[in-house]
Amino acid sequence: MRLSKIIKKTAINLEMGAATKDEALCSLVEILCSAYRISDIGTVLKAIKAREDKQSTGVGMGLAVPHAKTSVADKLYVAFGRSKDGVDFDSIDGEKAHLFFILISPRDVSGPHIKALAGISRLVKHEEFRKSLIECENVKTFINLVKRAEGKYL
């Protein structure tokens, strides 16, 4: 699963405004639903929050990957948000999260969801890549950085 091939440019927000985990989740769901024209925002937000309740997806190193399977999704959808100030996201290392990938996929299939999460994990393990996402100035650069990392690490 190549992130660069499935993420829409309009699903990338490098100036996400959110002060709390709740606000961050709402913003991310809005970015995702607006980019892919998903009307049932409430159901998506509920699914994402229910999954967060089971275990925070704040994996540390300034990164969070909220995700869920929901009947609202007919396929895998991905969006990205970046918060310059960072958000307290109940991360494992106690640090604020700055980079957010959000994913939703249908309930009845497991493969694409697993592959997408595994692919993102494989990219963000590299500090150089995380740093470049923190510093990138526009959406075009973001896409190019992801493409380059995919060529190198996937």
Partner: protein, 151 residues
């Protein structure tokens, strides 16, 4: 002959919030290729296949390679740490929700037909959506000759 008469009542399941390490341990300890996932009230939430679990660790390009005989190792992937994956996945993220399920009052012949048609080795058995057992092709062998055995 009913499924409930031949299913295994002693089985391992993991809660939907179980972390990845617990899922890995359950697969290792049961030596089964599927693992049922339950909610806190005992309702069957889904089933994790060992193949889906392994999918996490394989490189993306593996499906594109026709012949893997010439690959001796996967370079950096062999030494990768999986701390992020460990944080990111819980049991429900790995589960399939459309996995075949039998009711404990289904007949043993129906169980055999479902097992045969789906080419699945083991199927969860429910009563009122609650997971109550697991039945396999091997249990069918026992049932047709009404053999005694572990239940």
């Amino acid at each position: 002959m009913k499924v409930k008469d031949y299913m295994k009542r002693s089985f391992r399941a993991v809660p939907s919030h179980a972390p990845m390490k617990e899922v890995a341990r359950a697969f290792f300890e049961t030596n089964d290729s599927i693992l049922p996932v339950t909610e806190s009230d005992g309702t069957l939430s889904g089933v994790i296949s060992i193949d889906d679990f392994i999918l996490i660790f394989l490189p993306d390009y593996i499906d594109l390679i026709r012949n893997i005989d010439f690959i001796h190792d996967f370079g950096a992937l062999e030494k990768a740490s999986y701390s992020i994956e460990e944080m990111l996945f819980v049991a429900e993220d790995l589960q399939r929700e459309n996995y075949p399920v039998l009711d404990e009052n289904d007949s043993i012949m129906k169980a055999a037909a479902v097992l045969h048609r789906t080419d699945i080795q083991t199927i969860p058995v429910v009563n009122d959506d609650k997971l109550v057992g697991m039945i396999s092709k091997n249990d069918f062998c026992r049932a047709v000759f009404n053999m005694e055995g572990r239940n």
